[in-house]
Amino acid sequence: MACNKEKHQLIHKYMDEDITLLEKKELEAHLVKCDICHGHLRELRKTVAIIQSASHIEAPADFTAQVMAGLPKETQKNKWKTWVRRHPLIITAATFFLVFILSISSIWNDGDGEITVAGEGQFYVDQERGVVVVPEGETISGDLLVRNGNIEVEGEVLGSITVINGEQYLASAGHVAGEIEEINRVFDWLWYRTKAFFADVMSFMNSSDE
């Protein structure tokens, strides 16, 4: 080639669009005078055009399947992790259910059969027989809650009586103004807890409305 290496470099810089304005002016001025360099640039452009005309090659249709078949087996732990991530609602629901069951069963099993009474008034607990006795002539103004035991009412109860895991016995002389409820099975108990829970929520909401 007749022209110097510098011009040769300029042509490639021009091809790479990596040329300064000044260099571009210099090259263009040279190309007008120099057929060899002009031809060189034309050939390079044609070369690039040919290479770029190569059609795009696509991967075979089963390519992805083949790659996936070659992967190391996903560990059981990861599969589980993936599944958990994909089903957040189920996991949340399951967690809540578990917590609910645990809390209910812990309350249900509370006290190991020990008789407990909640309420105010004159009554006594006969531990030997497992009976709460409201003696004759006594009046209990509020509600009574007896757990793991029976209740005998010989006096008067103005509120309601709830017996969990036990029975109530109303003496002919006794009197209960409110309702008497016996809860002896887990499902009854669950139902009772749920009602109590919603009653609490409702009263909470009502009080916050005020």
């Binding site: 059609s55 991967a59 075979p60 190391p72 990861n78």
Partner: protein, 186 residues
């Protein structure tokens, strides 16, 4: 980088294989094309590009999420292709017959548009000729030319793929272009 790709890669890093399948779908053609242009035959290209994805999967922990995934996978693929060229056994070409078949060469296994048969022949000859010319280039110029003119990467990206300074990339492209020009002129 593309937010979708980023999301997919985060999933892959957590060990989600289904997400990796999506990643393969997105990049398989680019990677296969580089491998095919480097090696000149479909069989080896499939081998190398599958291997590239396998390595990407097993080394996904070392991939920096803030860099382009294409650069990273191209780097793996070109390194594997260059290794394969170094160890190259006897060649086989697209025009070779597929074993156990008649009149079925590897071109017939490349999906193409439906064209008239004569056009297909001319097209095949032209494509074959281009690939032959590329295969005549020394591998180090070949990779630079393929990434520049077939994958449309910038000089900087090519530098990242080939782990070379941009100045070296320019030199390789200049020399590759010159070598092609001299041959195509004849």
């Amino acid at each position: 980088m593309d937010a979708t790709v980023k999301k997919i890669i985060i999933e892959v890093k957590k060990g989600n294989q289904q997400a990796f399948a999506e990643l393969v779908e997105l990049y398989k053609d680019k990677v296969f094309q580089v491998a095919y242009r480097m090696l000149g035959n479909v069989h080896e290209a499939q081998d190398i590009s599958q291997e590239a994805f396998l390595r990407a999967y097993t080394n996904i922990e070392s991939y920096d999420i803030n860099r382009k995934f294409s650069t990273w996978i191209f780097r793996i693929a070109t390194n594997l292709a260059i290794d394969r060229i170094r160890k190259k056994k006897p060649d086989f070409h697209l025009e070779d017959q597929v074993a156990g078949t008649e009149d079925l060469d590897y071109y017939s296994q490349i999906p193409g548009d439906d064209e008239l048969p004569e056009d297909v022949v001319v097209q095949h000859e032209m494509q074959e000729w281009i690939q032959d010319e590329i295969m005549m280039l020394p591998p180090k110029y070949r990779s630079a030319i393929i990434l520049k003119y077939m994958e449309d990467l910038s000089l900087k990206e090519i530098g990242e793929v080939l782990n070379l300074p941009v100045a070296t990339v320019k030199t390789r492209i200049h020399r590759g272009r010159e070598a092609l020009r001299k041959r195509l002129r004849d």
